[in-house]
């Protein structure tokens, strides 16, 4: 049933975000630490268990695939509700700080990408 997939997805997200909140509290920051990432890990582990007793049927899969496919439209909606005005009208310093952070981070990607730890090559 489709709802099983949606419910499984919801359960993963709620558990992940709850754990993220607890981690945030434990280390004393006012933020959720990796909640969505933990939820994703849960879902990946569950979806890789298919050969054992727990198995996700195709209708159940459809419930998850639908939300996965809704990802881009949701991101478009997210873009349409950003406070773009605040970003572009706050003066040069904020814009330069943001742009510089992005440029430097982009430049570092190819350097870090060459590091493959645990795969036998230490370049």
């Amino acid at each position: 049933m489709v709802i099983y997939g949606v419910a499984l997805l919801s359960a993963c997200m709620l558990v992940g975000v709850y754990i993220g909140d607890i981690i945030g509290d434990l280390i004393g920051v006012q933020a959720n630490v990796g909640g969505v990432g933990i939820a994703m890990l849960l879902l990946i582990v569950l979806s890789n268990l298919t050969h054992q007793r727990f198995r996700i049927g195709s209708a159940t899969e459809n419930g998850i695939h639908f939300w996965s496919a809704m990802y881009i439209p949701i991101v478009v909606a997210m873009a349409a509700k950003q406070n773009v005005i605040a970003a572009v009208s706050s003066g040069w310093m904020a814009i330069i700080a943001g742009v510089a952070a992005v440029v430097v981070s982009f430049l570092l990607i190819p350097l870090l990408d060459r590091v493959h730890i645990g795969e036998g090559d230490d370049d």
Binding site: G34, A39, A79, A80, Q82, A100, S105, D113
Partner: protein
């Protein structure tokens, strides 16, 4: 006639948002095929159009929710809010390769810490270049260059002025918008075409909305990997910026 249509659209705001975004995406893909012959991906155009609409919405209404400040399009705010965004991001993890995650696990984790420190340092240097000498203000702006959540959290923790906190939010917003728009253009040059690179990208950039939009417009298959590391970034930033990084700034000034 018009009034009752407005009532229907307003009363069913989330459904209106689905229809509205559907039209927006359809227009974007048509532009992609007709005007760019598919060179610029439809979703990249859709995200850029979304940002333009957000700019129009903000300048017409004076609000902070972009196009969602128009009463009839309030549902876009729900659809594009953190709840649905995170739900859809989690869904993209379904079918992701566990092996790719394991291989890049250590580098991915390292990239989050490097990303936070790097963005903080760059933001702080810019703040100093613009004449700030107060460690609290420098740290708050540096934190804003990490994400627009780390900025205010750090500023509040350190007792920064509200105008400095507003600047830090603006720096984070600029970063997020630029990552959304810029990623598809730089992706081929920085080798952003595999799960390993996407994990590092998510960890270095850290802005969940920027990474979500940037990867969607580049290659949707990479979304789960980038989003995975990005979701740890804000938490790590809120941990490091008001503590270790602030102490480092205070030691220098």
């Amino acid at each position: 006639m018009i009034e009752s249509l407005e009532t229907v659209l307003g009363r069913n705001s989330l459904i209106t948002a689905f229809a509205f975004v559907g039209i927006l995406v359809w227009v974007s893909y048509a532009i992609s095929v007709r005007l760019t012959r598919g060179h610029i991906h439809g979703s990249a155009i859709a995200i850029a159009l979304g940002l333009v609409l957000a700019w129009i919405g903000g300048s017409v209404t004076g609000g902070s929710q972009g196009i969602a400040d128009f009463g009839l399009l309030a549902g876009v705010g729900v659809m594009g809010g953190a709840m649905f965004r995170d739900f859809a991001i989690v869904a993209t993890a379904f079918g992701a390769e566990l092996d790719a995650l394991k291989k890049a696990g250590v580098v991915g984790a390292a990239s989050v810490i490097i990303g936070v420190v790097l963005s903080f340092a760059v933001g702080s240097i810019v703040a100093v270049a613009f004449g700030y000498t107060d460690p609290v203000a420098i740290s708050t702006i540096g934190a804003g260059a990490a994400t627009y959540i780390v900025g205010p959290v750090t500023g509040t923790a350190l007792g920064a002025d509200s105008d400095v906190i507003a600047l830090s939010v603006a720096a984070g917003l600029t970063k997020s918008v630029l990552v959304m728009v810029g990623t598809p253009f730089v992706a081929p040059r920085i080798g952003l075409n595999n799960p390993h690179a996407a994990l590092i990208y998510g960890g270095l950039m850290g802005t969940t909305s920027g990474v979500a939009g940037g990867l969607a417009a580049t290659d949707p298959k990479l979304v789960p990997y980038g989003a995975m590391t990005a979701t740890f970034y804000t938490g790590v930033g809120c941990l490091l910026a008001p503590s270790v990084l602030f102490l480092a700034v205070r030691a220098i000034f």
